[in-house]
Each structure stands twice: as C-alpha cells, then as structure tokens.
C-alpha cells in the first residue's frame, strides 16, 4: 500500500480499534464520547440521588449516617452539574455545531480531544475522594467556608478536580467560540445561525468568563487551608461572606450555562414539529443575550439572608425579577410558534413541550424566591430544592433528552422505537412531578434542605417524593435501552428524518459521513 492510499483511508473513516476513541480528533467521535460520559455520570449521580431519597423516605435515621448523607448531596450536585448537564451540552455542540453551520469539524480538533479526556480523570479524582480518610466533600457543592475547610483528606483532591473540570470547560468553550466565529459556511451571517448555535455561542462566552472565577475562589480556599492565607478567615482579616460573593458571581451565570443550550434545543425542535418557522427569531437572540448579561448582576439574590444593605437587597431583587422579561419573551415565542401550526407529537416534541411547561413552573417559583422578604422564609428550605430541580430536571435534562431523540436518527441512521420513546416521556413526566412537586409543600412548611432527618409532619410528602424518585430513576433505563436499540438497528432514517426539519444538518445523509462539509455549502 503506498502512502497516498494510506492517506486516503485516513480521511475516509475512523481508525479501527479502541485507540480510535483515545486519539480521535473528529467532532462526531468526541461528541459521542461526551454524550456517553454524560449518560454514565447521569446514572452515578442518579444513584446518589436515590440514596438521598431512600434516607428521606421516613423520618429518623435508617440507612446512611448523616456524614455520608451530606457527601451524597454534595457529590450528587457536583456530578449532575459538571458531569452530566455540561458534558451533555458540549457533546451535543460537538456533534451538531459543525454540521449546523456547514463546517468540516471544530476549529481546534486536538484541543477538543484534550478537553474531553481531562473529564474522566477529573471525575475519577473527584469520585475517589469518597474512599478517603474523612470521606468525600460534604459541605454542599457551594463549598462555603469555614465548613468546607473542615473536609478531610479529600479537600485538595476536590479542589484539583474542580480545576480540571474548569480547564476542560474553558477549552471546550473557546473551541465553540472559535468554530462559530471562524468556520461558518459562506453566507451564513450571525442572524442566519440556528438558535442552538446562538445559545451555545452566548453560553460559551459565559463559560469563558466565569469558570476562571470559580477556579480563583477554590484556589483561595486551598491557600487558606494549607498556606496560611486569610481570604475567608476572619482572624486574619478575611471574611467568609466574601467567598459567597465570589462563588455566586460564578454560580449565577453557571445556572444559565446549564439552561441556555436547552433553550436552543427547544427552539430547534418546536418549529420542526409545528411545521412553522420559529416565531420571533431575532427577539430570541436578543432575549438570550439579555439573560446572559443580567446573569452577571444578580448573584447576591442567593445571599439575601447573609446580611446586605437594604439598597443591595432591592437592587438584586429588581434585577432578578427583570430576568423574567426576556425569559417570558422566549416562552411566548415558543407558544406563538405552535400557534396554528400543523403539530405532531413525536418523542422529541413531547420532551420539548414538557420542557416549556415545567421549566415555566420552575421559573415562577424562581420569581417567588427573587422577592427578598419572601426569600427570608424560603431560604435553604425544600422550596429552593423544588425550584432548582424543576429548572434543571424537566428543564435542562428534558431539553437534552429532547435533543437526543431529535438527532438520534441522524447520528445512527436508524429510527428509535417511537412507542418506547413515548413511554419514556410519560413515565419521566409523571414521576418527575411526583418527585419534585411535593417538595414545594414541605419547603413552604419549613423543611430545611441538606439534612438527613426531618420533623414527622413532613413524612407523607417525603414518602411520595421518594416513590417519584425511584420511578423517575428507573424510567431513565428506558433511555439507555432506546439508545442502544437505535444504534444496533431499526427502521432506516431518511436524510431529513422529520418532515418539518430545516437546516444544514438534514442535508447530510443519515448517518452523516465521518468527514462532512469538507467543501462548505453556500447559504443564500
């Protein structure tokens, strides 16, 4: 075989064997790796959630000791945020962004490989802390000092793993910005980009801006604990409350990082199944940008009860409530897109609709929490838990699942099992509400979060929530089964897959060639 033929082989398909996945620089391979990683972490984080809910099934302590319970709540959050939602979004971006904007690959393919392969090692370190002396981190994912400084041997490992996840996210985000800015097909102006591309573009900037701030905050914790600095130590002139300010300066944009790409996914799916163009495209873009801007000036609404001048509380209350305006624009645009559309209800559409309805419920409870005087009662209760789980589970996760169903036929070339998909949707939707809705009630009645035991009057609602948790958890096995079945075979998908689908990704074959758009299409 001569050199030219080897060269040609290299360009036509993936390398054989397992090393393909280690050395790959192909955006589709890396997207697949991210998505599988995220799915595995979803089950690990879910298992932790089930341990939490099992302990809370009845009042009293029965299954795990309180210290382990706190490790579970902390690790569940860290894994679901950094190990599930963010990698899933990056995976979808890797798979879809190049073929949605007509690019041959991501702009920085080698860095792309690196940013994925950091993740398993980062989470390996983080999960290994559970077996260390003193146990894993147990001070909550927010890592407030001085409590977090009491973590045992796990502490430096936790900090370094957070650094690694941060490096991975920043590199992933830079790659996405570079791809979108430099590799769009000729004629694809910014205002012609699909909305998933737009929301990721803005999300990537948020990531680049705030992940380093988190890295700084945890580095300060590290030097406070081991090198005698006093950033958060009052005895040396520091202030633990300052950590909360720095953390939430990262933390609030972070929660939008966890939702904006889902907004984009839903904005792709609803028009397809309504067989209409997205209503108010440019207002969607501006609304996303406004949400991103506002996310930088609302952080202290997480800290109303820690002490702030009245002016500060009013400022953060009003700016927070202002976020409801662009978010409302989005929700009304989705509804208007459906208005008089020829709608069908395949699984991706069902998940997208579930997203719109239940994300809005979470949005409203967020608006309640935004009001300072009311927040004084709700702070650190299960009402907060109910709120952020509504925006993250039937919000972010439903968006991701909708996206997976939407593009799965494109990725594999096979249709998934529609009946099983609908069963997955309905079991998920019923159980997620059984799981999280009662938390509103126990929260309003004053049940505090992050505590393994509770007063007996909360028993009934907690028992119901635990039933919902197991139902929801086991429903997700359906997703795994569906994906594996779809990869192995099934009815062949057409190139367009969905009757109403628009966009460059549908002009490629299903599955798309390993190297696509080597010649960029021209957009008119």
């Amino acid at each position: 075989m001569n050199a030219a033929a080897t060269e040609a082989d290299h360009h036509h398909g993936p390398a054989p064997g397992l090393m393909r996945w280690v050395t790959t620089t192909n955006h589709k391979d890396i997207g697949t790796l991210y998505l599988w990683f995220s799915l595995i972490m979803f089950f690990i984080g879910g298992l932790m959630a089930l341990i939490i809910r099992s302990e809370l099934f009845q009042p009293g302590l029965q299954i795990v000791d309180p210290h382990f319970f706190n490790q579970m709540t902390t690790m569940h959050a860290l894994i679901m945020i950094f190990g599930v939602v963010m990698p899933a979004f990056v995976g979808l971006a890797n798979w879809m962004l190049p073929i949605m904007i007509g690019a041959p690959d991501m702009a920085l393919p080698r860095m792309n490989n690196w940013s994925f392969w950091i993740l398993p090692f980062g989470f390996g370190i983080m999960l290994s802390t559970l077996f260390m002396d003193g146990g894993g981190p147990s001070a909550g994912w927010t890592l407030y000092p001085p409590l977090s400084l009491q973590t045992g041997d796990a502490f430096p490992y936790l900090i370094f793993s957070i650094h690694m996840l941060g490096v991975s996210s920043i590199m992933g985000a830079i790659n996405i910005v570079a791809t979108i800015m430099n590799l769009r097909a000729p004629g694809m102006t910014f205002m012609k980009m699909p909305l998933f591309v737009w929301t990721w573009f803005i999300t990537a900037y948020l990531l680049i801006a705030v992940m380093p701030v988190l890295a700084g905050a945890v580095t300060m914790l590290l030097t406070d604990k081991f090198f005698g600095t006093s950033f958060f130590n009052a005895a040396g002139g520091g202030d633990p409350v300052m950590f909360q300010h720095i953390f939430w300066f990262f933390g609030h944009p972070e929660v939008y990082i966890l939702i904006l790409p889902s907004f984009g996914l839903v904005s792709e799916i609803i028009p397809t199944f309504s067989r209409k163009r997205l209503f108010g495209y440019s207002s969607m873009v501006y609304a996303t940008a406004s949400i991103a801007f506002l996310s930088f000036i609302v952080w202290a609404h997480h800290m109303f009860t820690v002490g702030m001048p009245l002016t500060g509380e009013l400022f953060f209350m009003f700016t927070t409530m202002l976020i409801a305006v662009p978010t409302g624009v989005k929700v009304f645009n989705w509804i208007s897109t459906m208005w008089r559309g020829a709608m069908t209800f395949e699984t991706p559409m069902l998940f997208a609709l579930g997203f719109v309805v239940m994300f809005t419920i979470g949005g409203f409870s967020g608006l309640m929490l935004a009001m300072t005087p009311i927040d004084f009662q709700y702070h650190d209760t299960y009402f907060v838990v109910a709120h952020f789980h509504y925006v993250l589970v039937p919000g972010a996760i439903f968006g991701i699942v909708a996206g997976v169903y939407y593009w799965l036929p494109k990725w594999t070339g096979n249709m998934y099992n529609e009946t099983l998909g609908k069963v997955h949707f309905w079991t998920s939707t019923v159980f997620v509400n059984i799981l999280f809705f009662p938390m509103h009630f126990v929260g309003l009645a004053g049940m505090p979060r992050r505590i393994p035991d509770y007063a007996v009057q909360f028993a009934d609602f907690n028992a119901i929530a635990t039933v919902g948790a197991f139902g929801f958890g086991f429903s997700q096995i359906l997703l795994l089964v569906l994906v594996i079945k779809c990869i192995r075979g099934g009815e062949k998908a057409t190139d367009q897959v969905w009757e109403g689908a628009q966009g460059l990704e549908w002009t490629l074959s299903s599955p798309p060639p390993y190297h696509s758009f080597s010649v960029q299409p021209v957009i008119k």
Binding site: V177, P212, D239
Partner: protein
C-alpha cells in the same frame, strides 16, 4: 469572512477573569470600608478625634460584647457591659482576656458594630484589635480601647453594640 477571531485572543479572557476573581478581594474590602458593611469600624487619629465637637445634649448607649471563636483557649469579655456616651467625646474602656492553657498563644480580636449603619461613625483611636495579641502561659491582661462616636451619627440610632470575636491567630500572618 468578516468577524473572524484570532484564537489566542480568546485565551486572554479566562486569564483576565482569573485575575478578576482575585481583584474582588480588595474591591470587597473597599466596599465594606465605604459602606460600613459587615460592621467594619473606622479608625481615627487622636488629633482628629480631639477636633470633633462634643454633643453634650445627646447620649448614646454603647454596649460591649466579647465572644471567643470556636474552641480557642481563651476567656474573653468586656470590663463593663455598657456605657452612656456623648458623641464627639473620647472614652476609654477595656476588655479582659485570659489565656487558659499553659503555653504561649496568639490571638486576634475582630470587631463588628451593629446596627451596620452606625459602623462608619464608630471610630477608634486606640484598640487592641489593631494588632495580634501574644499571651504568655496562663496570662490574664486588660486590653484598652479608646473610641469616639462621630457626632454625625444618625438621630434614629440611640444604641450601638460593639462586639469582638477573639480568634486563635497562631500561625497566621499579622494583617
């Protein structure tokens, strides 16, 4: 195509933002100094303090509190529980601290004033909280505090509480 970006520029943003995270530390202190947030008290030189007009008609109650942080080896408290003071006039009082262990220890008192609005009007010319305090084994000592309340203290405030928390400062660099 227009709008192309040079990738190395993108790496500048995270570097700058990492720096910004650290910049928030002095910014936070500055904001606390300006607003008196967090009960950070002011300090004032003796010369400045003697220039203030004494408001003989007004009496403000100043309460003193002493707390020991965590399990630090101290007994710590004010000499008197409260005083009635005229704004603009200098007063002296003291706190007493006792080292309860048989070794040399270093402590640091951190002040806080409530209500927060009063913090910027509460000025100290001399305070044991300005420095770390080293105690010999089992030593007990009176530590003086000289303060003056600025006559500009809002009329609505008639009680000011000054609270000190005594921290174990062994191994910490003096601030």
């Amino acid at each position: 195509m227009s709008g192309r970006i040079k990738v190395p520029y993108l790496f500048v943003i995270p570097v700058l933002m990492f720096g910004f995270g650290y910049l928030m530390v002095p910014l936070y202190d500055l904001l606390c100094d300006i607003t008196g947030l967090n009960g950070k008290t002011g300090s004032i030189s003796i010369a400045e303090a003697s220039q203030l007009d004494v408001d003989q008609d007004r009496l403000v109650k100043v309460e003193f509190l002493g707390t020991v942080n965590d399990e630090a080896p101290w007994e710590f408290g004010p000499e008197v529980g409260s005083m009635m003071v005229h704004p603009g006039k200098q007063y002296q009082t003291s706190f007493v601290a006792t080292n309860t262990v048989n070794e040399t220890v270093v402590g640091q008192a951190i002040p806080s004033v409530a209500p927060g609005k009063a913090a910027t009007y509460f000025n100290k010319t001399e305070c044991f909280c300005f420095n770390q305090q080293t105690f010999e084994p089992l030593e007990s000592r009176e530590m003086p505090l000289v303060f003056v309340i600025d006559p500009g203290l809002p009329e609505s405030i008639d009680t000011v509480s000054l609270s000190y928390t005594f921290f174990d400062a062994n191994g910490l660099v003096s601030k």
